[in-house]
Amino acid sequence: MDYEGRARCINLGHCTPACAQGAKASTDITYWPAARRAGVELRTHCRVREITTNAHGMAAGVVYYDADGREQFQAAEVVVLACNGVGTPRLLLNSASGHFPNGLANSSGLVGKNLMFHPYAQVYGYVAEETDSNRAPPTCLWSKEFYETDRSRGFVRGYTFQFGRGVGPVAEAVASEAKGLLPWGAGHHAAFRRLNGHRLGLSAICEDLPEEHNRVTLDPVMKDSHGIPAPRIDYRIGENTARMMEHGIAHAKKILAAAEATDICVNSPILYGGWHLLGTARMGADPARSVVNEWGRSHDVKNLFIVDGSLFVTSGGVNPTSTIQALALYIADQMKQRLANLFD
């Protein structure tokens, strides 16, 4: 049904990139129009190089390149970062100065560390019934059965099972050919008709845990087109997460067997999804163990706030955007409520 000015979903099936119907509650519809009506000025195609600070160690503004590549300075009473788990530490590290030689807001040494993702263990098979393929939202059912810690499983924390209904003909053909399910030559057409529109899949969205060796640093050589040092990412899947993924694969196979699925395929981790950028400016009460306090303000720079996925302390075994939005709203509320003594 229509909801708050958004048209009802009509099952376009391409929810992830965008919704032509305008039914999806994406931020271009839910937040930006309201923000601009309230007076926010949006400058697009700009790239911030660094946050500058004043003699008191407070953020003074940002140096950025505008759409024409010209260097600009924007003064600010408050700087709010929302560049997520790679962009935020990159900008903080690129904002090193005499006052903050190890990068801005980095007295803990944790800026860029504890990078977390959501490694997805994907398993799918093919069932006799039609699965509506790409004729509706691609993910349609979630289970939290394995979300909470159960040490008998051999790992802590857990994962969400996300069920999917399949893909369209082109994606199905390319994927099933690569998996060796779709033959070349005479048997091609019959095999494709058995596969297309019959896929049933599920993914374990695993809760990655913080490990300091997984990190974002500045690349010593690589720079972007404005000459700003690029981020370098060091990451490997930890033992706990790997055991979680194996558990997810085993249970997904059981579920697919119960559904009488055949031609079971495993992609673990999947290459094209789940790499949500989290944890590199963690939130916490202890300035030695966190980058921002419990309401999003930098421990070191009292007019600098962070409202993105870099705040996460663990990754949560679920897609993170709703939680990031909730944190941003919470921090904005805190800023309003504490306005009189925001910088104390």
Partner: protein, 148 residues
């Protein structure tokens, strides 16, 4: 003046032959093969950033075949195609992908799959309701989650 083609005439001939070996025409399913002229034109026109790897795959194919693929007898052509597939690698995977993606977006092929050859917007799709009573046991059971 002829239109620019990213492939040489020999490469286009080999592309047509290997595409037909990957997806032959079928009277049973009333579909053209991937060597169909319209599908071939779509492949060549949309190669874009895949051009380099497709050329590399076609060069490899020419070396395997030793002569134009289309000129080989059907058994030898099939053997060369299977050898190419077994060889694998990024170039062969790219060649295969561009053939598959152009074939399965052809209107005739889409219709043969029981689908309408149209973009999803603005018409959308109407789906039958599932059996919501399947969730009754889930609704009835106590929470499995920890209250924070």
């Amino acid at each position: 003046m002829s239109a620019y083609s990213p492939l040489t005439p020999a490469q286009r001939d080999d592309l047509r032959a290997i595409a037909g070996a990957i997806i032959p025409a079928s009277m049973e399913f009333d579909v053209p093969g991937a060597d169909d002229p319209a599908i071939q034109a779509d492949i060549v026109a949309t190669l874009g950033r895949d051009t380099g790897l497709v050329r590399e795959a076609l060069d490899g194919l020419a070396r395997l075949a030793g002569s134009p693929l289309a000129g080989l007898d059907p058994a030898r052509r099939e053997a060369v195609a299977l050898e190419l597939r077994a060889k694998g690698g990024a170039a062969v995977a790219t060649l295969t992908r561009v053939v598959l993606q152009c074939y399965y977006r052809d209107d005739r092929v889409v219709r043969s799959l029981g689908l309408e050859p149209r973009p999803p917007y603005p018409k959308g799709h109407v789906l039958e309701d599932g059996d919501w009573s399947l969730l009754d046991p889930v609704r009835a059971r106590p929470p499995m989650w920890r209250r924070a």
